[in-house]
């Protein structure tokens, strides 16, 4: 026993032994903090493993810097670096407790939305165990002070230090590869800061955020008010006059936007084994008090749900890469629906979502949009088996939302974001008896089951609104945010459409999602106007009687006779009532045109629209 302890001490008395000891303590501390101080939503063995593994590359890299220095200095540097990272960890723990998110460079610089709230009551949120982040530093200092560990004054070869740095990068590469395997496009789409910390660690998140913020700051700093001129000219030219027959029709009424996750237009009136998949939504679609659009398209990019939200709230497009709400939601200026409705018509506003508030950076973006309230998961009761996939199951979520909906000062603008009809379309057996599709594609077949569950949830919400009498004074806006079945499942799509195979035109039409506005007194009907998510806000403004001719919004009022019915997609494709431009054709022609010197007539890019 004595000799084993002596061997350990001898090992610790070497610089590399001390380094390994420090790295292990540091990694354990980070893992402890991840498990106890944050709510990272770790699920499954891969994520559990990565949560522990991601502590190592950063520890080796940062603490390893000290190995390039000699003598006592390298020891103290190791401790100093540890103390600095620990302070950063502590700051994040405190910030997370208040805002359920991690610190960003924007917050540090004071330009973030939360900066004004920081430091108001640190004493109220700090907990004694938070200081455990310094335990390892203090412990090692004591070991050195009481000479349990002695300084190794021998020089540490630089090539060994470099090897450790290289090892840290290699491990980070492995870490990133495994993370991408479990959650593809982790860094390009920026779903949630929780994800980056969960998969790659706090240090990697900080560096990632720093790079992202610096990149956007450069573009931002070069911009000036002259850059607005071409935009203003375009908006003025693009503006469509409101439809006087509808102008102001819903003014003063509550608005409930029902965000139907991954809900595609083909589900409307679709039957499986003779049963309607969505009888409630079908009924709404055909209701005489519903303005329903049969040629309404989702226009999202990589930001998917967040792009849909951005377009609905601001009538600005999502970005070609990543999520605009994640990238700019905190720092940018917006003139969004909640703020416009409050300032113009005195509406209160709230968004409801049964998941963590940081997903898609909603907690910050909503503040920029002007939302007064954001009722996320922490506002809802904890009930066994209440979650599925991306948050609280729709039936529970909508019932919980009623608790706060009835407290909002009227008129209100409320957005309810459902989640159960989300890929991979999992629903427990006790919640469905609806038959699956029989395309043979396991990803596609259960889609109708979760859609059916969502439809039942909508029915329960309608019953509640009817029973309380709230519906009389409320306008419902329903929309599908994006496709549920991607174009990768062509065989299954063909079977759903009752075809042998699908064409590019079919796939373009596959991007249709429902959009309907239902309310007492609305002169409804199924409209075949071509439009998309970018057009929702101008349409609502028309119905609310808000004059939007000076607004910087890229959409057009769908009710306007001047609507040009051109629907651009984020990948450069577009559809109109006459023509459709799919990406595949463009790609082929681009490749061919590189080989050919002959100019091509423009109409080769176009596919004539088939009759419906």
């Amino acid at each position: 026993m004595k000799s084993a302890w002596q061997k350990i001490r001898n090992g610790l008395n070497t610089k590399i032994g001390f380094f390994v000891f420090t790295v292990v303590l540091f990694a354990l501390k980070m893992y402890w903090a991840y498990q106890t101080k944050f709510n990272l939503g770790v699920k499954g063995p891969v994520q559990e493993f990565l949560l522990a593994f991601n502590t190592l590359p950063a520890a080796l890299l940062f603490l390893g810097v000290a190995l390039y220095f000699r003598g006592r200095l390298s020891y103290w540097l190791m401790l100093l670096v540890n103390a600095i990272v620990s302070t950063w960890l502590l700051a994040n723990i405190l910030y997370y407790r208040e805002f359920s998110d991690f610190l960003t460079l924007n917050v540090i610089k004071g330009s973030g939305s939360a900066s004004g709230n920081l430091g108001t009551s640190l004493s109220q949120i700090i907990q004694p165990t938070d200081f455990c982040v310094y335990l390892d530093v203090v412990f090692v200092i004591l070991l050195l002070a009481f000479k349990v560990i002695r300084f190794d004054m021998r020089p540490f070869k630089r090539r060994y230090a470099a090897t450790i740095s290289a090892l840290s990068l290699l491990l980070f590469g492995v870490n990133l590869g495994m993370a991408e395997g479990d959650r593809s496009q982790l860094l390009t789409r920026t779903f949630d800061n929780n994800y980056i910390v969960k998969y790659l660690g706090l240090e990697a998140y900080t560096i990632y955020d720093g790079i992202k913020t610096t990149r956007t700051s450069v573009v931002r700093s070069k911009a000036d008010n002259q850059d607005m001129k071409p935009i203003e000219r375009f908006i003025k030219k693009n503006y469509a006059q409101p439809n006087q027959a509808y102008y102001g029709k819903i003014k003063g009424k509550n608005i409930i936007v029902l965000h139907l996750e991954s809900f595609q237009q083909f589900l409307i009136d679709y039957k499986v084994n003779g049963q309607e998949v969505t009888p409630t939504i079908n009924k709404l679609y055909h209701d005489q008090n519903t303005l329903a659009y049969s040629n309404f398209f989702n226009q999202v990019g990589q930001g998917k749900t967040s792009d849909a939200e951005l377009m609905l709230e601001t009538s600005l497009y999502g970005l070609p890469e990543g999520s605009a709400m994640s990238t700019y939601g905190t720092s940018n200026t917006f003139q969004a629906a909640p703020a416009l409705l409050k300032q113009k018509l005195g509406y209160s506003s709230a968004s409801f979502h049964g998941d963590v508030p940081s997903f898609w950076n909603r907690d910050n973006a909503y503040k920029s949009f002007g939302y007064q309230y954001f009722f996320s998961k922490e506002y809802f009761p904890e009930v066994k088996d209440s979650d599925m996939g991306y948050g609280t199951k729709d039936k529970l979520f909508l019932k919980y939302s009623a608790k706060y909906l009835d407290q909002l000062p009227q008129p209100f603008y409320a957005k309810l974001i459902t989640v159960t009809n989300h890929y991979p379309y999992l629903i427990d057996k006790k919640n469905t008896d609806f038959p699956e599709l029989t395309t043979g594609d396991k990803t596609v077949d259960p889609y109708v089951q979760t859609a059916h569950y969502l439809d039942q949830s909508v029915q329960e919400l309608l019953n509640y609104l009817d029973k309380t009498g709230m519906r009389k004074n409320t306008v419902l806006v329903l929309y599908g945010d994006h496709y549920g079945i991607s174009e990768n499942h062509k065989d299954a799509i063909a079977k759903i459409l009752g075809k042998k195979s699908v064409t590019n035109y079919d796939l373009a039409m596959w991007q249709k999602v429902p959009f309907m506005i239902n309310g007492e007194g609305i002169d409804g009907g199924i409209k075949d106007t071509y439009g998309g998510e970018i057009d929702v806000l101008p349409t609502l403004e028309d119905l609310l009687g808000i004059s939007s001719d000076k607004y910087i919004q890229f959409g057009q009022d769908l009710l306007s006779a001047q609507n040009n019915q051109i629907v651009p997609f984020r990948n450069g494709d577009w559809v109109t009532p006459q023509y459709t431009k799919p990406a595949v054709i463009t790609l082929i022609l681009r490749r061919v045109s590189k080989l050919s010197t002959q100019p091509r007539p423009n109409n080769e890019l176009l596919i004539k629209r088939k009759p419906m």
């Binding site: 004004g116 709230n117 573009v219 911009a223 008010n225 850059d227 607005m228 935009i231 693009n238 600005l316 497009y317 070609p320 700019y328 940018n332 200026t333 003139q335 969004a336 703020a339 300032q343 113009k344 209160s348 503040k367 920029s368 949009f369 002007g370 007064q372 309230y373 954001f374 009722f375 996320s376 809802f380 009761p381 904890e382 009930v383 199951k393 039936k395 529970l396 909508l398 019932k399 919980y400 009623a402 009835d406 407290q407 909002l408 000062p409 009227q410 006790k430 919640n431 329960e460 509640y464 029973k467 309380t468 709230m470 000076k550 607004y551 910087i552 890229f554 651009p568 450069g572 577009w574």
Partner: protein, 85 residues
């Protein structure tokens, strides 16, 4: 279409709306807004006092959640306890 998307990207990348004064619209004030449970509930309570127009205000402060019927099996026999802090 390309112009439209490009202009929208330019607007977002450069945060150009900070330069645009929309008549009758004031820039959103984020300071003091918190979605933290405790602060959110407090703000809601305060707003109800300032603007007593909610459904509850019009219905003797009755909680309407009892009117919400669901067949969700997860809630069978469950008494809902909403967090307050």
């Amino acid at each position: 279409m390309t112009t439209e998307l490009g202009l929208s990207d330019k607007l977002l990348n450069g945060d150009l709306l900070r330069f645009y004064h929309l008549p009758g619209f004031e820039k959103v004030q984020k300071k003091g807004v918190s979605y933290n449970l405790k602060k959110g509930l407090k703000a809601l309570k305060q707003q109800q006092k300032d603007h007593p127009t909610s459904w509850r205000d019009q219905n003797d402060h009755r909680n309407s959640i009892d009117d919400y019927e669901t067949d969700a099996p997860e809630l069978n026999g469950v008494t809902l306890k909403f967090p307050t802090k």
